[in-house]
């Protein structure tokens, strides 16, 4: 039975490999497990092993060639077996999603387009057993990790594929518990729960190295499994939905807060009761800036972009086991005092979980502030279907150059995460310019 030698995916991030050197030549007899070639990946040089015994009938790439993962690079077969069908088949693209990009670097292997009749393209699946016997699951830790399932179609349920993609998991290194090794939803959930990432599925050498570096002495921490609260589940689900399908990009700017903070102080000095917080000021300014940039106050709807008719600001509030984002409705139409009263109420009730769904759903833009926790700047993950979220860092006194002089100023860094389907770079930057101008010159607010 003829089997293909393909450029195996030897690391989770590998998209192509350089064939450093063939260790065999055409006509050689090989046994399963024999080393066929040395391959340079994006991480290290590794060996490709023979999956089956036989005669090396064809070597399709030369030493030094760079080949896409999954591409056919040679054939092992019986000495007199007809391998013309295998040789005619186009190089097999990898089933790893990223491999599509790698297509142009395929070597001089036959490059005609995939024939429309499926039969000659992939003779192997018709008789899957000899092509690559499914490794017994119990052997998994000890079998050769150099040969994950890349040349073969990975059996995976549609929803598992989607979830794995969203979580950044590499299906090629996962084992499936469904029929015929199908990777099912439960497998992906288990992989996510155990924190398995492509990096966590270490090669033997890396794992050995990690063990060698393990410190001595009594561990001060213990393994703990903490059941997900409903809230943590919801957070996980929504944020995975976000960072997966939403093309994020991030814009950071530093804002001089002198005048804004002065204004806040003089306002508070005149107030007999209540107090306007920095957050209230930010809500007000952001809301005002959004009315001037309605393209930011928007959502992606598949075949359209919706610009919202109201400015409803979500305020991210940390909780002991999660977070919640109460929504301050129509923030653009409310005064600072009203915003401060309403947000204090929303935040207080949010902390004790006394918000109704209407009070924490449907924001059009969210502000997340970690300044009080000494964070200088960070990137927040968009809460869909909103198109952007603004991450606020702490305001710190720092030296800045002004008119050629070094002076001390209170400065704050903000980073906006944008959904690129809705917001383009310049569009987002223009919004931040407006925001910055308003904070640096609060009179803008009334202009």
């Amino acid at each position: 039975m003829a089997t293909k030698i393909v450029m195996a995916q030897l690391s989770p991030t590998m998209e192509e490999g350089k064939l450093v050197e063939w260790k065999v030549k055409e006509g050689d007899q090989v046994e399963a497990g024999d080393i066929l070639a040395e391959v340079e990946t994006d991480k290290a040089n590794m060996d490709i092993e023979a999956l089956h015994g036989g005669v090396i009938r064809a070597l399709l790439v030369a030493d030094g060639d760079v080949v896409a993962v999954g591409a056919l690079i040679g054939v092992i077969a019986d000495a007199d077996e007809d391998i013309s069908a295998l040789l005619e088949s186009a190089p097999q693209p990898s089933s790893a999603p990223a491999a599509e990009d790698a297509a142009p670097v395929q070597p001089e292997a036959p490059s005609e387009p995939v024939p429309s009749e499926p039969a000659p393209v992939e003779p192997a699946p018709a008789e899957p057993a000899p092509a690559e016997p499914a490794p017994a699951p119990t052997d998994a830790p000890t079998t050769n990790v150099q040969t994950p399932r890349t040349s073969e179609r990975i059996k995976v349920s549609p929803v598992a594929r989607r979830m794995a993609q969203a979580a950044g998991l590499d299906l090629a290194v996962m084992s499936g518990t469904g029929p015929g090794g199908r990777i099912i939803k439960g497998d992906v959930e288990a992989a996510i729960a155990t924190g398995a990432t492509p990096a966590a599925v270490a090669t033997g050498t890396a794992a050995d190295a990690a063990r060698a570096m393990a410190p001595v002495g009594t561990p001060r921490l213990e393994d703990q499994r903490i059941e997900l609260s409903m809230m943590r589940k919801a957070i996980a689900k929504r944020l995975v939905q976000s960072i997966g399908p939403i093309p994020h990009f991030f814009l950071t700017t530093e804002i001089d807060m002198e005048r804004a903070l002065d204004m806040r102080k003089s306002l508070n000095d005149r107030l007999s009761e209540g107090k306007v917080g920095v957050n209230d000021l930010l809500i007000k300014v952001v809301a005002e800036a959004l009315t001037r940039h309605p393209e930011i106050n928007a959502s992606f709807e598949g075949d359209a972009i919706r610009r919202h008719g109201s400015v409803d600001i979500g305020i991210a509030v940390a909780l002991p086991d999660g977070l919640i984002t109460p929504v301050l409705r129509d923030a653009d139409r409310k005064g600072l005092l009203q915003i401060s009263v309403e947000s204090a109420d929303l935040v207080a009730r949010g902390r004790i979980r006394r918000l109704t769904p209407e009070e924490y759903q449907g924001a059009t833009f969210t502000i997340s502030n970690l300044g009080m926790m000494d964070i200088d700047e960070f990137t927040a993950i968009i809460n869909p279907p909103e198109a952007a979220i603004l991450a606020i860092g702490q305001t710190v006194e720092k030296p800045v150059v002004e008119d050629g002089e070094v002076v001390v100023r209170r400065r704050m860094r903000v980073t906006m995460s944008c959904d690129h389907r809705v917001i383009d770079g310049a569009m987002g930057a223009a919004f931040l310019q407006t925001l910055r101008a308003m904070l640096e010159n609060p009179l803008e607010l009334v202009s």
Binding site: S157, P158, V159, A160, R162, T177, K185
Partner: protein
Amino acid sequence: MAVITYREALNRALREEMERDGSVFLIGEEVGEYDGAYKVSKGLLDTFGEWRVRDTPIAENGFAGLGVGAAMAGLRPVVEFMTWNFALLAYDAIVNSAAKLLFMSGGQFNIPIVFRGPGGAALQLSAQHSQVPDPWYANIPGIKVCVPATPADALGLLKSAIRDADPVVFIEGELLYNMKGEVPDGEHLVPIGLADIKRIGEDVTIVAHSRMVHVALAAAEKLASEYEVEAEVVDLRSLRPLDTDSVIASVRKTNRAVVVQEGWPVSGIGAQIVDDIQREAFDDLDAPVARVSGLDVPMHYARSIEKLIVPSVDHVVNAVKHVCYLD
């Protein structure tokens, strides 16, 4: 909320609609003097008289055709078939006349008629009297098909059917007539073409209609207690129009589906629903959709064999275990 039987709910629907609209009348075999073979029309003759509750000869195509003509002339006939098995003789009146006249008259004639009667297997009625007619009618553009599973839905759907401007095939569950359930007081209408979630669950969607809803619900309880699987039961209530949106929304949530129908598997309603699911929710599926159907044979008279032919709770439980990878 009163608790009444499915039979009483149908009777109440007929009575309310006949009181509401003088153009509504009931014809069929033994609907008058005998109060109906299944007593659905009990007391209606006494109340409304023989002009509006009319016994017919044993001539299904004749009285079904009479109904179509009356509907063309502006009345709202309710035609009872003693069972849908007998309506095969009236198939021409239903399919070629009622379903086609609006179209073929260029929109001149609405046919506001209801054909109703029991369908499905009962107990040892053998091959000719145990058939599930659902797909024979759901296949036909120009008619609507209602298949209620509960007294409340039977009441609300029959009232909607009588008021509908188009022909409605109303298939009652023969084994459901004695089933009791809560029915809202006052006017209760259920829109045709809207499914109903009869049980909320997270792990698997069971789609069913008519008596199979109760099989699905019993299976769901067994799955919950024995396998910790929470099934969502979607009752289609109408087969045409079919509420695909509700089915898809549920499958998107659960990622797994089992479609249950009492009738034969080939070209059955379940095939249509599976097709909708695979097209609309492909990326949400964690397993191929499973179907549970009656066996592909004529119904046997022997009780022991009849039990094997009709889908049971265990059939549904096994199918759910399969799609949840528990078998």
